[in-house]
Amino acid sequence: MSREQQLAGVFVELADTLVADFDVIDFLHTLTERSVELLHADAAGLILVDPHGQLQVLASTTDQARVLELFELQNSQGPCLDCFRTGQPMVNVDLAEVEARWPRFQAATTAAGFRSVHALPLRLRGQVIGAMNLFCQDRASLSDDDVSVGQALADVATIGLLQERTARHTEIVAEQLQGALNSRILVEQAKGVLAERTGVDMDEAFKLLRAYARRNGSQLSAVAEAVIGGSVTVTSP
């Protein structure tokens, strides 16, 4: 299979995981594995910024790569971090350069038997959400073509991740809105039930409802539902 054919296959595979039941971890593992295959690297690791702004190691093809990513985060130095900060790819960084720039990371890389490291940003229109490290044991450098292919994969992954975040956020707000509407109606209905049972007016009924919820540490809408269902009797204290 030509590289174009392989690449097309990978794009379809990545797009396919973007549909129902999207699993971020699974998606990123697919990305790192295919990147290693297509670029003839030996290992890959990926860091991603979480909603609180913290960087997390979310995928790696080997334990060694995972350890190196964690090492970068713990020591606040390494190509992945610089790539994340600048949003620029860092490719064909040999061990001498690694030593000059990130002395502590160099020791760990050498110990793992890698000869070169590369980092590609996960970015979309100025927003950088993470970076992928590639490690090579035998190859000292990636070609320009390799870098283009790797960056294309990273770009597709970024679009998928951002889309998933937007969709999840939308769903959370929709759920809140639906819940708030339902709760509002339940509370009004329960006020009616209480007003009829006890002869108080609506304001008083609401006070009874809220006082009962507070006394019992329950949610107002839960108490309202129980009042409507008749399983709870709320009376004046």
Binding site: E171, A174, Q178, A180, N182, I185, E188, E196, M202
Partner: protein, 238 residues
């Protein structure tokens, strides 16, 4: 991520005061499509719970009827999670929604298109479009209506996302339910008076309003003010 068309609609609608977004969406929608007017309503499993906005009197009446009667295209669209298209209401509506169709025709509504507002499995309401003469929407127009439906959902979620801390609902959305709260309060009272569940209590209230040819909200206010009671067998005196 929203399509290009949806983003264009949002860019055109989301200007000025946030509280005006729903009304602007309906106005722009009625301009771009061959319809006479549009309305947006919240719905829950309890049915139509209030009109968020309507472009004109007939659009408002269309919403009013569906809340008062508990039947109509938007009720079906919401229940089934798919659009209900009625290009000629006089020809096809009477057998399906007799009460609604009578009232709608009288209000000058000749065609209705109802689109559910949904996010995945979560349904929030409907966008209702109407025409004052019979006529259908072609494929590109349907696509446009669906884009407006998604934009409407996005706007409601945008508002909800801007709810002040500690408030369950954004004030612009809360007022929709708030202005008609007596309907739900009366429903609660009737469950006790007539010893029925909530759904049947609402039906009793709707039937009374329909029978006495009065707005549902007015009848509900009578119940809350204890000027009207419903007896155990659904008898009422007031």
């Amino acid at each position: 991520m929203p399509s290009v068309r949806i983003r264009q609609i949002l860019a055109e609608v989301m200007v000025g005061d946030r509280h005006g977004f729903p009304a602007r969406l309906c106005l722009v929608c009625a301009e771009k499509l061959p319809v006479s007017g549009a309305g947006l309503a919240f719905m829950t499993s309890a049915g139509h719970i209030g009109t968020i906005t309507a472009t004109d009197g007939a659009a408002a009446e269309l919403e009013e009827l569906q809340q008062a009667l508990g039947e109509g295209p938007c009720v079906d669209a919401f229940r089934d999670g798919q659009p209900v298209l009625q290009p000629d209401l006089a020809a096809t509506g009477l057998s399906r929604w007799p009460g609604f169709t009578d009232g709608a025709l009288e209000a000058g509504v000749a065609a209705v298109f109802a689109f559910p507002l949904q996010v995945g499995a979560i349904r929030l309401g409907v966008l209702d479009l109407y025409r004052d003469s019979p006529g259908s929407l072609d494929q590109p127009q349907l696509a446009e209506a669906l884009a407006f439906t998604e934009a409407a959902t996005a706007i409601l979620l945008h508002l909800q996302g801007k709810a002040p801390p500690g408030q369950l609902l954004h004030p612009r959305l809360a007022e929709v339910v708030e202005s008609r709260r007596e309907i739900h309060q009366a429903t609660g009272m009737i469950t006790v008076q007539a010893a029925v569940d909530v759904a049947d209590a609402l039906l009793l209230l709707q039937a009374h309003a329909f029978g006495s040819e009065r707005p549902l909200l007015e009848v509900a206010k009578d119940v809350v003010a204890r000027r009207l009671r419903f007896g155990p067998a659904g008898d009422h005196d007031g």
